[in-house]
Amino acid sequence: MTGAAWLLSLSLAAVCGWPLLSHRSLRGLPLSSRLVLSGAAGAVLLSAAMTCAVVLGLRWSIAVLVPVAAAMAAALRPFARGEAPSPPPGRDAFGGGTWTAAAHALAALAVAVAFLATWSGAATSPDLIFFWGAKAQQFAAARTIDVPFLQNVFHRYMHLYYPPFVTNVYAFATMAAGRFPWTAATLTFPLLLGALAVGLPGILRTRVERRAAAALSALAIAAIACAGIDADVAGNAEMPLLLLEAMAVALLVSPHARQPSTQLVAGILLAGVITAKVEGLPFALATAALFLLLRADARPIGAASARLLLPAVACLGTWFLFGATRHLFTGYAGEGKFLDLYPGRLAAVVRSIGTALAATGYGLPWLVPLAVVLASGRPRRVSLIPLGTAAALTAFFLFTYLHRAENPALWISWSAARIFMPVAMLLVVATACGAPPSPSPETTVPTQEAPSQR
């Protein structure tokens, strides 16, 4: 029962995000996608509220955090301007013919397989026990981020500077359930994979026809399931990160991304990406920069930049403010000095990465999406957003692996497959950019909501 309560409490995040996601300008997206976006954005706002409370020296309380996060979402509504683009014909992402039904069945099967692998103890991440869950449990008991716990010299392996999104959300669920249930925490992998399977088709549907949106979404879900099981990601931060990344990039390649409201939601998701894992920073910066560079229809650039990046600056800034005021950290720790690299190891590092990816489903979680990208014809300009982000992320990982004085082969063998999972997802999103957008976003649908509620 504790496990069920822990998982169910995560749905409160959707309540937090709904005041923003219910805005009329976002109604061009199907309800299924808006619900998942609401949960994802709500979780980011909830985590932001928790970090702010820590900086202010206030103890966490669910009864306060949920209304505060929902109020933050409501306060963002005035920045979500724009009309709802007309939905593509047959707007429901889950209707359609045989191909669409087959695609949804395939996605459901992938989620079921991820569930079985997780439930049977075949996909558990040691990092859940080592630090994600251990920190969340401690923080939930302390009702704050426990500074003395982090300062303990024998707790340094818990990476005290790691950004707070996952530990905050896990701590929130732990406060709701009364204790940290380890098995239930592993089930976040199939649960969030299922959420992505529900939310992604409706966003991709704004770019491609329904059966293609469903098929590409199923491919992304299958790739994540296959790599995630082999790389043992159940319970760690990979799946929350992938959910936020996939939804953010899918929004930013959508024709709807010319709207301020879509940019704002993407910006909140990117704030979650940045505060979920260290590699979220290069991901979010690359995605935002490429969007601003390549989407001439998303102007003025200053306002678009603010909507995309200010939420991330606020969330990460609050985290570093916490670290600085408690004398814990002032930035991300690395291996040695920032530019102390070992370039002579490049070939060995690339070889080790190749070996690690090949050992994960024979590399198919990356090779299959790559083949589908290549089969889809000449890339369009907008596909450079996911492809460029994938390149930036790859460059960042190479840079990171070249930092270590010792031979990084062992480190690469247990980390490369899981940290390269977003690249597979980005290749699939790039494939969705290979065709002209299916809807006519200039036309708008009338809504009954009063302008004051916009």
């Binding site: 695609a103 103890g121 558990t124 491609v208 299958a222 089969a375």
Partner: protein
């Protein structure tokens, strides 16, 4: 003529089916995947730590809040002891956990010998580590004299 869109749909579905098949091959079907395993690590790549996880979980009710403990292995293995220090911190909240090893290096006894409880993963120590409180197939729990 087959459209580019049809190729994309067919290729995505075919590729997705292959990936789901590979994912399904990782599920331990022979062990009935619907049956809850003893620990979340039983069939993962880190299955070698499953016994330590089970022992620490079984020992938890016998170690009071605020107690000081240390976990080690028999025979001694600093790498495994590093893992079990981390596991003990996660599975025994409210207790003070001292490391027998840290980052694969054995810690000197001054670091951990004030522990009032000892969790021994593996066989029973040749010399009793104190008063025996629990013994399972995974190891034993001892009340130590610090």
């Amino acid at each position: 003529m087959i459209s580019r869109e049809s190729v994309r749909v067919a290729a995505s579905l075919a590729g997705g089916a292959v990936l789901v098949a590979f994912a399904a091959a990782s599920v331990p079907w022979s062990a009935n995947p619907l049956r809850r395993p003893r620990t979340p690590f039983d069939r993962s790549a880190a299955s070698s730590v499953a016994s330590g996880f089970a022992l620490l979980r079984d020992a938890a009710p016998l170690i009071p809040d605020g107690a000081v403990l240390v976990a080690w292995t028999e025979p001694r293995d600093p790498v495994q002891e590093t893992y079990f220090h981390r596991f003990a911190l996660a599975l025994l909240p409210g207790r003070e956990v001292l490391p027998a090893a840290y980052y694969g290096a054995a810690m000197p006894p001054e670091v951990w010998n004030r522990a009032g409880y000892g969790v021994v993963v593996g066989r029973r120590p040749a010399r009793p580590a104190g008063r025996l409180l629990l013994e399972t197939a995974d190891g034993s729990l001892w009340r130590r004299e610090p």
